[in-house]
Amino acid sequence: MAYKMVQMPEEVAQKLHLVDDIVEKYKQVPGSLIPMLQEVQELLGYLPQEALRKISRGLEIPLSKVFGVVTFYTQFHTEPRGRNIIRVCLGTACHVRGGQNIMAKITEFLGVEPGGTTPDLRFTLERVACLGACGLAPVMMVNDQTHGRLTPDQVKEVLSRYQ
């Protein structure tokens, strides 16, 4: 995965110093790199290079290793993300019940491909392998809310609830 040099948004730069507190908190806990990255991402919305450098220095592990872990897990992001995260399930049950039609409708509506973010940072669109709500297939999650038994026609209305 290539690391695109992205300018940090102003509000992220302002919160960057808080990363030091997180590093301090986890410094002594063995195996804490992943929870630390999760907390930093929760705080900043994504993992800017500047934050990774702070973590690397704080934990005294090479930046290359931190970067290796970040890029291994799909949950970590190195670019700014939308305010609302859409996760469309394309797992087995959703696949056989037409999850791809939901995805097609959303890409058409938002004008971004899976993995992409709308220019106004309102939505980030992702595909996931299974949300574990197969009884309600096809399913998508917006932030922490699960929407089930979807039809392509409902997509627009559901998304309009998230600003």
Partner: protein, 591 residues
């Protein structure tokens, strides 16, 4: 008489707005304090399809698909002691109404052992768990010798519920016998198989059972610390587990000198970060240690060298949840359930083209037919059963000839599938087997960690061949190449993910070979799924020229004069299928 309303708070029902029903009930009941009706959230009832599910006790009435608008009428009925018929479950085949859960076909053939508390208790209240015998097994175990506990588990015949079915008691014994100043107990809750949600429902509905199982294991193997590794996609499960740990600590079931026995045990939660391969045990341990979740060769097994190099016992959620039940009912009694070599029950997530989707628990040895037709209520829209995929991307696809196969570890392995974690996806005549094999292989290929060559490169080559076949460019020798690649990957990949990745391809080729051949020789997809092998046509006899399809076609592929039959340009058509759904004259068909 006072009544209790149990509302399902599992992920399925919450997304069908069960929390709104809860709020509305509370709101209405506050207006009338004399009603003596109490409202409670419970865990998953398993019948997610019919959610939100509401049960009224002590009358034991089972309501489904309850909405906020039903609330006033429901309260009226409860006050009068009546049953609100319109919200009862109606059998899709016979049309009969069922009053209680026990009367519904979906529940009749189930044996709910692990799920006995799910949907019955408030998972965020430890006292409800205690009132149903919770933590009694721990109390009983703490007075016994460690070896006695392991003996009991061995005698029960319990096998791992997460995949390959390794005997649990034996695993515990290895960890107990391993030398080390520190030992760990790890619970694998990284349920990643697409189409599976058993572990999520257990954690959400009965988290203390899992903790109690881990505690008993910790005592038996001599560990004083445990980890639960949960998928980050399960926020509700993580929340409930956190509450359960806190409650158990307050009650003295977790911490130092548990129940004055001198036994210490603490439990930590680790949230995964999104990598399917972390369900493999050595990869999971690497991930807990904060590294890339890549598997390593075994031996040494985690029982000898696990977390931070210390002896570690790893089992999955359902396996641990079985443990307190075994201790409470006794190993001999438990071993009466199931078959000779597969004891107890298994929880399955029943999904796909089936009438009753949801979570079911059945005794081992039940036939697939019983699960699909009696519990699952048959195939959706009365279509023809074609296959069932068991065990997710590592499992296999079984045809109708094998419907009477007993569901147990060994019978499934014999036919090329596996129990896996318990996903059961049912498919009908409209599912294309080449597309399905492609779907699963695409999944495992994407999730391959890249450490070993057979998995990284081999699955990629297999996928390319499948893509070729699905797009009508397949050659006859492709089938043999697929077989050869599959054999090599199975025997040489480093971990379970790679070794089982070819299973969906191998089983679909074994049982549905003619479908592959039709794709290759006739360049045709019989199920009408593979986009490059189908053409949309308009029947000029039926088309009235209403122009509806042309208006909705996103690629401008449909043309024609008003009130004249239209035509589709196959070069412009993207096979999105919008036109079929828009046409109300049934004039568009697949050729």
């Amino acid at each position: 008489m006072s009544k209790t309303v149990l509302i399902c708070g599992g992920t399925g029902c919450v997304s069908s707005d069960s929390h709104k029903v809860y709020d509305r009930l509370e709101e209405e009941l506050q207006k009338d304090p004399s009603s003596r009706i109490e409202v409670k959230f419970t865990g998953c009832h398993g019948f997610c399809e019919q959610g939100p599910i509401v049960i009224v006790q002590p009358d034991n009435v089972f309501y489904c698909r309850v909405t906020t608008n039903d609330v006033p009428e429901l309260i009226e009925a409860m006050k009068k002691g009546e049953v609100l018929e319109r919200l009862l479950y109606r059998d899709p085949v016979t049309g009969e109404l069922s009053r209680s859960r026990e009367e519904i076909g979906f529940y009749k053939k189930q044996k709910r052992l692990v799920l006995e508390n799910c949907g019955e208790i408030d998972p965020e209240n430890i006292e409800e768990y205690e009132s149903r015998g919770g933590y009694e097994a721990l109390r009983a175990v703490l007075g016994k010798e460690r070896s006695e506990v392991i003996e009991e588990i061995k005698k029960s015949g319990l096998r791992g519920r997460g995949g390959a079915g390794f005997p649990t008691g034996l695993k515990w014994e290895f960890t107990a016998q391993a030398e080390g100043d520190k030992k760990y107990v790890v619970c694998n809750a990284d349920e990643g198989d697409p189409g599976a949600f058993m572990d999520r429902s257990i954690l959400e509905g009965d988290p203390h059972a899992v903790l109690e199982g881990m505690l008993i294991c910790g005592y038996a193997v001599g560990a004083d610390e445990g980890y639960v590794y949960v998928r980050a996609e399960y926020p509700l499960a993580i929340k409930r587990l956190k509450i359960a740990i806190k409650e158990a600590e307050e009650k003295g079931y977790l911490g130092d000198d548990i129940l004055n026995s001198g036994f210490n045990f603490k439990v930590n939660i680790k949230a995964g970060a999104g990598a399917f391969v972390c369900g493999e045990e050595t990869a999971l341990l690497a991930s807990i240690q904060g590294e890339r979740g890549m598997p390593r060769p075994r031996p040494p097994f985690p029982a000898e060298k696990g977390l931070w190099g210390k002896p570690t016992n790893l089992n999955n959620v359902e396996t641990y949840a079985n443990v307190p039940r075994i201790i409470r009912m006794g190993a001999d009694e438990y071993a009466k359930i199931g078959t000779e070599k597969s004891k107890g029950t298994k929880v399955f997530a029943l999904t796909g083209k089936i009438n009753n989707t949801g979570l079911v628990e059945v005794p081992m040895g039940i036939t697939m037919r019983d699960i699909i037709y009696d519990i699952g209520g048959g195939i959706l829209d009365n279509k023809e059963f074609k296959a069932v995929q068991i065990g997710g991307p590592s499992g296999g696809c079984l045809p109708s000839e094998l419907l009477d196969l007993p569901v147990d570890y060994d019978s499934l392995t014999e036919v090329g599938a596996m129990m896996g974690s318990g996903g059961l996806v049912v498919m009908d005549e409209t599912t294309c087997m080449v597309d399905l094999a492609h779907f699963f292989l695409n999944f495992t290929q994407k999730e391959s960690c890249g450490k070993c060559t057979p998995c990284r490169e081999g699955t990629k080559r297999m996928l390319e061949i499948l893509e070729r076949i699905a797009s009508g460019k397949g050659q006859e020798e492709d089938l043999e190449t697929l077989q050869r690649l599959a054999r090599v990957i199975k025997s040489t990949a480093l971990c379970g993910l790679g070794q089982t990745a070819p299973n969906p391809v191998l089983t679909t080729m074994k049982y549905f070979l003619s479908e592959y051949e039709t794709h290759i020789k006739e360049k045709r997809c019989p199920a009408g799924v593979c986009k490059e092998l189908i053409t949309y046509r308009i029947d000029p006899e039926k088309c009235t020229g209403c122009t509806l399809c042309a208006k909705h076609c996103p690629s401008g592929a449909i043309s024609g004069e008003k009130k004249e039959p239209h035509v589709i340009d196959p070069d412009k058509c993207t096979r999105c299928g919008v036109c079929i759904t828009k046409c109300n004259k049934d004039a568009i068909y697949l050729a």
